[in-house]
Amino acid sequence: MSERWDVLVIDDEPVVRDAARLVLEQEGLRVAVAADGDEGLAHEALDQCRLVLCDVMLPGRDGFDVVADIRARRPEVPIVVITGYATTAMAARALDSGATAFLAKPFDEEELLEQVRRVLERTDAAEKEGRS
C-alpha cells in the first residue's frame, strides 16, 4: 500500500472536519476526510484506516446507514459516531447500526483525543490477543 491512513472523518461541516484533522494529526495520525456518506464509502482510506469518525446528520444518506455499510465492509474497524443531537436514543441507534462509541458535539481537543485513544487502545489490545 503506497499510502496509509489512520483515521477517516466523515462530516458535512468543514469546520468539524478541519478541527478533527488538526487535533488528530498533531497526535501523529494521518487523517482523511469526506463530506458525506457516499464520499466516505468511496474513499480509499476506508479500507486502510484504524478508525472512522462519522457524523449522524449527513446530507444524502443517513449517518446510521453509512455506519451500517462501513461495518459490513470493515467488521473490525472501530467507528465513533459524532453528533450535535446527543440523546440516549440516538446513542442506542448508533450502537445498533454497528458503531463502537459515541461522541457528542461540541467536543474540545482533550475529549476527542480521549475517545480516540480509548477506542484505539481497545482495538490494539484485541489485535494483540488475536495474534497471541
Binding site: E13, V15, V16, D18, A19, A20, L22, V23, Q26, M57, G84, Y85, A86, T87, T88, A104, K105, P106, F107, D108, E109, E110, L112
Partner: protein, 492 residues
C-alpha cells in the same frame, strides 16, 4: 319559590297589576258616573272614562316596559356585549350574574364558558410553546453544535500550546469556558425538550455540591457573591444521577446569584439527612376511579403537582373539586361554592362512578368517605364533609417516616413575590426579563420529580429565598416526571 321562576312571576304580577289598575279605573269611573249622573252629561262622562282608561293603560305599559327593560333587556344587552368581546378575543370578559333568574343562570354559564375557553386557550398555547421549544431545541442543538465544535476544538488546541504565553492562554481559557457554557445552554434546552430518566447510582451529595460549585465558582466571584457551606458529615450515599443533581445545584445557585443581583450577597448551601412523615410530604402520583379512569389532571395543579379531579354533586350546582395530591394536606380547590348540608355525592368526572365507600365512615365526624386508587400507595381516603380534614392511607401510614437527603440553597436576595411562588417552576416563567430563559427551574423541577423527590421554596419579599430539595433514600418508583406546565401533560 325557585329563583329561576321569579322573572315569570314578576312579569305576571306586572301584567296583573296593569290589568287591575285598568279595571279598577273603569270601575271607579263607573261608580263615579252613577253618583254624579245627574250633574254630568253623557258625552263628558264617556270622554272622561276613555281618558282615564287610556292613562291607566299607558301607566301599566310604562311599568311593564320598565320591568322588562330592567329584568330582560339589560341582562341580555350585557350578554350581547360580552359575546361581542369574547368574539373579538377578549377571554377575560365576565358579566354580572348576581340575580337568581334564568338570565342570571345564563350569565353564570356564559362566565363559566369564557373561563373554560380561556383555560383551554392557555393550555393550547402552553402545549404549543412546549412543542415548539422541542423542535427548536433539536434544530438549535444540531445547528449550533457544529460551529461550537470548531470554536471549542481550536481554542482548546491553542490554549494547550500557548502555555508559555500566559496572557494569551488566559484569554483562550475564557473562550473555552464560555463556549462550554454555550454547550451547557444547548444541552439544557435538549434536556428540557426530552427530560431523560435519571441514571441512579449511590451518590455522595456533598461531592455533587462541591463539583457543582466548582463549575460556577468564577461566575460567582465576578458577581461578588459569597458562598457559605454547611455540609453535613457522614451523609449516606443517596440513589441519584450525579450529573442531573449537579445540574440542579448549579441551576439553583445561579438562580440565587441572579436574585442577589449586582449588590453582592451570600448564598448558603446546606446538606442534611432528614426524616419526614408521609403526611404532608408524600405526593400522590397516581389516582384512579374504581373503573380505572385517571383522575390526575396535569392541567390543574395544586402547588406544583397535578390535582385529583372529582365531581361533587350538590343540591343546586355540581362542583368540580380538585383534591390536593399531597397526602394529608387539604388545599383542595372547587369550581363552585361547596354547599353545606347532607348531599355530598362524589363521582368520577369521566365515567360518573360514585367514589364514596359504602362501608366506611369518617373517624372524626362520621360523614361518608370517598376514596381513590393511588397505585403503589393502595387506597387513599378523604372525608366528604366540607371542613373536615380527615384523610387516610394504610400503606403510607404504615410506612411512617421516610428518610431524605436534603440540599438547601438559600440566598440573601430580593425574595419572591407570593403570587409568583406557584408559577416558579412552569416552563417559560421568568422574573428575570430578557436575562432568563424561564427553563432553568422547569428543568430543575423535572429532574427532582424524576428522582421521586420534592422541591420546596420558602420566601418572603425582601427576605431572600430558600429552595429545599429532598431526595428519598428508598425511592418508590416515581411516575414519569411531567413538567409543571399548565395543561401540558407531557413533553413534546
Amino acid at each position: 319559590m325557585k329563583p329561576r321562576i321569579g322573572i315569570i312571576v314578576v312579569l305576571g304580577v306586572a301584567v296583573v297589576t296593569a290589568a287591575t289598575v285598568g279595571v279598577e279605573s273603569v270601575l271607579i269611573v263607573r261608580a263615579h258616573r252613577q253618583a254624579l249622573h245627574a250633574q254630568l252629561t253623557q258625552g263628558a262622562d264617556q270622554r272622561q272614562m276613555v281618558i282615564l282608561a287610556l292613562l291607566a293603560i299607558a301607566a301599566s305599559s310604562l311599568l311593564l316596559w320598565g320591568l322588562i327593560g330592567w329584568l330582560v333587556v339589560r341582562p341580555v344587552g350585557r350578554l350581547i356585549s360580552g359575546t361581542r368581546k369574547v368574539a373579538a378575543g377578549d377571554l377575560h370578559t365576565m358579566i354580572p350574574d348576581s340575580d337568581g333568574t334564568e338570565l342570571g343562570d345564563l350569565a353564570r354559564a356564559f362566565n363559566d364558558m369564557v373561563k373554560r375557553l380561556g383555560e383551554a386557550q392557555r393550555q393550547l398555547t402552553q402545549a404549543d410553546k412546549l412543542a415548539s421549544v422541542g423542535r427548536l431545541a433539536a434544530g438549535v442543538a444540531h445547528e449550533i453544535n457544529n460551529p461550537l465544535t470548531g470554536v471549542l476544538t481550536y481554542a482548546s488546541f491553542l490554549q494547550k500550546r500557548l502555555q508559555d504565553r500566559p496572557e494569551m492562554a488566559q484569554d483562550l481559557e475564557v473562550v473555552v469556558r464560555e463556549t462550554k457554557r454555550c454547550r451547557e445552554i444547548v444541552r439544557g434546552l435538549l434536556d428540557f425538550s426530552r427530560q431523560t430518566p435519571p441514571k441512579s447510582q449511590p451518590t455522595d451529595l456533598n461531592e455533587v455540591v462541591r463539583r457543582g460549585v466548582a463549575v460556577i465558582m468564577n461566575q460567582l466571584a465576578l458577581r461578588r457573591v459569597a458562598l457559605d457551606f454547611d455540609l453535613a458529615d457522614g451523609m449516606r450515599p443517596v440513589p441519584a444521577d450525579p450529573n442531573q443533581i449537579q445540574q440542579v445545584v448549579v441551576n439553583l445557585i445561579l438562580n440565587a446569584a441572579d436574585a442577589i443581583g449586582d449588590g453582592g450577597g451570600t448564598i448558603h448551601v446546606r446538606t442534611a439527612e432528614v426524616e419526614r412523615p408521609a403526611r404532608g410530604h408524600t405526593v400522590i402520583r397516581s389516582a384512579k376511579c374504581p373503573k380505572g379512569c385517571d383522575l390526575l389532571d396535569p392541567g390543574s395543579r395544586i402547588g406544583r403537582h397535578p390535582g385529583i379531579k372529582v365531581i361533587r354533586r350538590q343540591k343546586d350546582h355540581d362542583a368540580v373539586v380538585l383534591m390536593d395530591p399531597v397526602y394529608g394536606r387539604v388545599n383542595h380547590r372547587a369550581s363552585a361554592v361547596l354547599e353545606d348540608g347532607t348531599i355530598s355525592e362524589y363521582a368520577c368526572p369521566l365515567c360518573r362512578t360514585r367514589l364514596e365507600l359504602p362501608d366506611r365512615k369518617c373517624r372524626d365526624c362520621g360523614a361518608p368517605v370517598l376514596a381513590v386508587n393511588a397505585g403503589a400507595f393502595g387506597r387513599v381516603e378523604w372525608c366528604t364533609r366540607k371542613g373536615c380534614h380527615w384523610t387516610r392511607c394504610e400503606v403510607l401510614d404504615a410506612r411512617g417516616s421516610q428518610e431524605f437527603a436534603e440540599i438547601i440553597i438559600g440566598d440573601t436576595g430580593k425574595g419572591i413575590a407570593p403570587e409568583d411562588l406557584d408559577h416558579l417552576f412552569e416552563p417559560f416563567f421568568s422574573t428575570k426579563g430578557h436575562h432568563g430563559t424561564g427553563l432553568g427551574l422547569a428543568v430543575t423541577w423535572g429532574i427532582v420529580e424524576g428522582h421521586g423527590g420534592t422541591i420546596d421554596v420558602h420566601s418572603e419579599l425582601g427576605q431572600g429565598a430558600a429552595f429545599v430539595v429532598r431526595l428519598p433514600h428508598a425511592s418508590p418508583a416515581p411516575a414519569g416526571a411531567a413538567p409543571p406546565a399548565a395543561g401540558a401533560g407531557g413533553m413534546p
